[in-house]
């Protein structure tokens, strides 16, 4: 390899933040190289320092942060030595940055075309008309269909996915040497994410651009990157080619990370997720030795000293004292199993349904415009949930998966009564439920509980954990005094938290611990049905697994049924016995999670499965991409709600007629489409093939 090939060269970079008068290292001693034409994935959980590192490379740390040691070189030029003016030159023409949130990076008062043209004029000396022409060309390059129209729009008039395309168009407008992408698809839906990732892949393919892709999503890295660096608590612990890293992770942290995410097609019972114990240390708690020591399953005394870099092969390295044993397969670095989930696999048998939704409808009236008021036209309706019928059998889990705006959260809120339904019925243990919460008695409440999405808001910050857990015991079960205290301790024990936590306030707990308490509270009244609305989506991947396992564990003990709602298909299908796929307030498909990944698929499920980045660089995935944006629920298309974007659109019939529910005789899948199962089977192959062959 020729030296000049290296575009980005970080040498022993240490970045610190000033916190309460002390400098604390957020990134410590990181060295890495990115070559021309190479895509480098930087993976880490929140708090690992990955964004800090990306910003430091951009020379954009802001107040409080500072590079303490080391060098950042771009094509041989020392970026740290440049002043503001010289940096500005570099920013525009040599480095480009695509941020996580395009909305806050686009100027809301400038038209898209002008914003792009501005960059071109400033950095490349285009005149006004040429710059505008070039801007439109750039928009066409990122596959924006109506580039002229978009160029004339303001940022708020286009969708998030479109905004991110604009950011990418701007970033590539000056042909930069280095492109830094910081979680560019994290805020997008999977089907949109897939399109953006395709775009990034296409655009960088034939260029000599070096790409630094920062993310927490292991699937995205597997699908996009050539090389991966794993960042933990500010230190790069392992670096390898993507294939090597996924098939033979050497660092115990990398292994833990890979083991803690469920992959597509993995269901509980067949595979056991292993969570990484403990949590990422805060800035002022970082050990001087190996950073992962406190959570490592194979830590030894030697780990008190910082491991140097070991090179098992020429193009990979790892910072672990025990790499040889791991490499040779003498020791396993798997995290211990939390429990044996295999027994959780309930046999298929006829069980009564505990929760039945029949043609559930939730409509919200839109505020009428002045024009509509004058003309006395009725208020337009947002059809958030439009005729949903599903059942949950006793002791089972139904997963509900959908993109944002699909109505999945509204369904959960309508079931528990936080949002009144406008039509249809909900039955709990054969008793019809009143639409509104205030009309339900305590007995009903006791049988139906909910776990909320955001653990930060799930607990009252001014009540101790003990108090929070005691309330449902008092109000719903009528316990008091000593009995309630004993029960509180049992609840804490059930969610594997020490009894001393009863005296703590929520802000003394980590996110995962808070969610444990929220789960304990929901299980306090021993409910028959538990609604979980995205219970792990706000948590780090290494913590997710333990929460998922905990849920399925408690479900066994309490024989409860769970409605598990998530946007993450892999998580849903791991935990659920059955999965319902929802689109624009309509259920599109219901299948047992084991057969969900086998054809035939409803066309929407097919697209959804194809969009998910598989956590395996070797996976073969069939490409199905959706055109356009998800329509507004205020304006649900007629006939089949999916017909406007459906890749398997038949014609008139999809627009005019509501599709029938079809059942595939082989898999028992039920789906909502005009195409009969035998025809679907003929045109669809397996959407992906992957094998999880990890060398233990």
């Amino acid at each position: 390899m020729i030296k000049s090939d290296i575009i980005l060269h970080l040498i022993n970079l240490t970045i610190a933040y000033l916190q309460a008068g002390r400098w604390l290292d957020a990134v410590r001693d990181v060295s890495l190289d990115i070559r021309a034409g190479e895509t480098y994935g930087l993976v880490g959980e929140s708090g690992s320092g990955k964004t800090t590192l990306a910003l430091a490379i951009m020379g954009y740390l802001g107040g409080g942060g500072s590079v303490k040691l080391g060098e950042i070189k771009l094509d041989g030029q020392d970026l740290l030595a440049l002043n503001e003016n010289e940096l500005r030159e570099v920013w525009g023409s040599h480095i480009a940055f695509v941020p996580q949130n395009p909305q806050s990076s686009l100027n809301p008062s400038l038209r898209i075309g002008e914003q792009i043209a501005e960059t071109l004029r400033y950095h490349q000396g285009f005149d006004k008309t040429d710059a505008h022409q070039k801007a439109i060309q750039l928009l066409e390059k990122v596959h924006i269909a109506d580039a002229g129209l978009v160029a004339n729009s303001y940022p708020h008039q286009i969708s998030g996915g479109m905004q991110q395309r604009v950011m990418i168009a701007m970033a590539l407008s000056t042909e930069p040497m280095l492109l830094v992408l910081d979680e560019p698809t994290t805020n997008l839906d999977v089907t949109t994410q897939a399109v953006i990732l395709d775009l990034v892949r296409e655009l960088i393919q034939n260029r000599q651009t070096a790409v630094l892709y920062v993310t927490h999503n292991l699937g995205v890295v597997a699908q996009l990157c050539d090389r991966v660096g794993v960042l933990y608590a500010g230190e790069l612990v392992e670096e390898a080619n993507t294939d090597d890293l996924y098939h033979k992770p050497l660092h115990p942290y990398t292994r833990g990370l890979l083991d803690s995410v469920p992959r597509l097609g993995e269901v509980k019972g067949e595979i056991n997720l292993r969570a990484i114990q403990g949590q990422i240390p805060a800035l002022d708690e970082r050990a001087s030795g190996c950073v992962f020591q406190a959570r490592c399953p194979v830590g030894v005394e030697q780990c008190g000293q910082r491991p140097p870099i070991f090179h098992p092969t020429e193009n990979r390295w790892v910072r672990c004292h025990r790499w040889e044993e791991i490499y040779g397969g003498q020791i396993s670095v798997q995290q211990p199993e939390l429990q044996d989930v295999a027994q959780h696999l309930v046999e298929d048998s006829e069980q009564g349904d505990v929760l039945k939704l029949e043609r559930l409808e939730v409509y919200f009236p839109l505020h009428r415009s002045l024009n509509e008021l004058v003309r006395r036209s009725p208020a337009r309706l947002v059809r958030a949930v439009d005729g949903v019928s599903v059942n949950i059998p006793a002791g089972r889990t139904l997963g509900l998966v959908g993109e944002s705006g699909s109505g999945k959260t509204t369904i959960s809120r309508a079931i528990v009564g936080l949002v009144p339904r406008t039509g249809g019925s909900v039955q709990l243990l054969d008793f019809p439920l009143a639409p509104e919460l205030k009309d339900r008695d305590l007995e009903t409440l006791r049988h139906l509980q909910m776990v909320f999405q955001n653990p930060e808001e799930a607990l009252n910050p001014y009540l101790t954990i003990g108090e929070t857990l005691r309330r449902p015991l008092v109000t719903l079960l009528g316990y008091s005094g000593q009995v309630a205290e004993v029960k509180v301790r049992q609840l804490l024990e059930a969610v594997r938290l020490p009894a001393s936590y009863a005296n703590r306030l929520p802000d003394q707990l980590s996110g995962g611990e808070k969610q444990r308490v929220a789960i304990a509270r929901a299980f306090a009244s021993n409910p028959d049905v538990l609604i979980c609305d995205e219970p792990v989506s706000a948590l780090d991947v290494s913590v997710q697994a333990s929460i998922l396992n905990l849920l399925s564990d408690l479900q066994m003990d309490h024989d409860s049924s769970i409605l598990f709602i998530s946007h993450n298909l892999a998580v849903v299908s791991y935990l659920a016995d059955q999965v319902a796929v929802i689109y624009l307030g309509h259920i599109m498909e219901v299948a047992r999670s084991k057969v969900l990944f086998e054809p035939p698929y409803s066309p929407y499920t097919e697209a959804l499965l194809s969009a998910i980045p598989v956590t395996d660089p070797h996976a073969e995935q069939r490409l199905v991409r959706l055109e356009g944006e998800i329509p507004s629920p205020a304006d649900v298309p007629s006939g089949c709600p999916f017909h406007t974007r459906c890749p398997r659109y038949l014609g008139e019939i999809c627009v005019d007629k509501e599709p029938p529910w079809q059942t595939d005789p082989e898999t028992g899948k039920r789906y909502y489409c005009h195409i009969p199962p035998e025809d679907l089977r003929q045109i669809q192959e397996h959407i992906f093939r992957t094998d999880r062959t990890l060398n233990v």
Partner: protein
């Protein structure tokens, strides 16, 4: 963003939840960590001290006239001189502190009490009740406070209790609005919804689940209203429609001394400066409280 969680160091070892006493002393300590709020807090504490021990500290009575010593400039006998009626200005300023703090303070407190209850109910219940209350409050708020006060005092006639009622009527809508806006953001949080699903009573949800989260914003707002109340009481005294002579109300003292400004300027400056210092002090403290309480509680 990731760097946000970077700093959330977990306070792991301090196990028990802090009580109200500890929270108060902690707040006070944090107030004294910045010069501006330290000055403000010191001023407020000083004036509270004056109000409490005024009768001991004041060398003369509020209305004690020493005719032989009328219109004397500040001296060792009369620290701030005497007014044209021979009353000791220092004693009157000191004794006036208790009155103005008492009226402004109790007016603010009652307004906070009413405003909190109305804001909680209005924000939590919503619907037509909320709509009616808020539109009524809007119409009250449309009038400048002083104008509204003049109007009300014109109807009720000047007296201490009238001034108190005016303070309550003027500040209740403002407090209610502040409380309501916090309630609106808190009531959709998971912990409030969870308590609804647990069948908690309305009063538990409002006072135990929601109110604690309202407290930081409420405390700051109350402190701010308190400073306005001091000003309003003084203004009404100055205009002659509030507290009546011979009370040692600072506003009233300014009004009375105004006529004799060429002979006894000290009788005018002393109460005027007292008003300014106290109002500035309370404001500085309110700013400090905002920094201390709302930065730690805004999650």
């Amino acid at each position: 963003m990731t760097s946000g969680t970077l700093f959330s160091s977990r306070k792991s070892e301090s196990s028990a939840a802090p009580g109200w006493g500890r929270r108060f002393s902690l707040t006070l300590r944090q107030l004294y960590s910045k010069p501006a709020s330290a000055v403000g807090s010191t001023i407020v504490i000083l004036f509270l001290f004056l109000a409490l021990f005024g009768p001991i500290l004041a060398p003369y009575g509020a209305n004690e006239q020493i005719f032989s010593d009328a219109r004397r400039p500040p001296s060792s006998a009369h620290l701030l001189g005497t007014d044209n009626l021979g009353r000791d200005v220092f004693s009157r300023v000191v004794l006036g502190a208790s009155e103005i703090l008492l009226i402004a303070g109790s007016g603010t407190l009652i307004a906070v009490l009413f405003g909190t209850i109305i804001g909680l109910i209005s924000g939590y219940k919503g619907g037509w009740l909320d709509e009616t209350l808020m539109r009524f409050f809007d119409s009250l708020l449309a009038l400048p406070a002083l104008l509204l006060a003049l109007l009300l005092l014109g109807i009720m006639g000047p007296s201490k209790s009238s001034v108190l009622i005016v303070l309550v009527l003027v500040y209740t809508p403002i407090i209610a609005r502040v409380v309501r806006s916090v309630v609106l953001s808190v009531k959709t949080k998971g912990f409030v919804e969870a308590s609804r699903l647990q069948g908690e009573s309305l009063s538990w949800i409002m006072f135990r689940e929601i109110l604690p989260s309202v407290m930081p914003a409420l405390t700051v707002e109350a402190a701010l209203r308190f400073s306005y109340a001091i000003f309003l009481v003084a203004s009404l005294g100055f205009l002659g429609v509030g507290i009546q002579p011979p009370s040692p109300n600072w506003g009233l003292m300014v009004k009375e001394a105004r006529v004799h400004i060429s002979q006894t300027p000290w009788a005018l400056y002393a109460p005027a400066i007292a008003i300014s210092i106290l109002v500035i002090g309370v404001n500085l403290m309110a700013d400090g409280l905002k920094r201390v309480l709302q930065s730690t509680s805004s999650d």
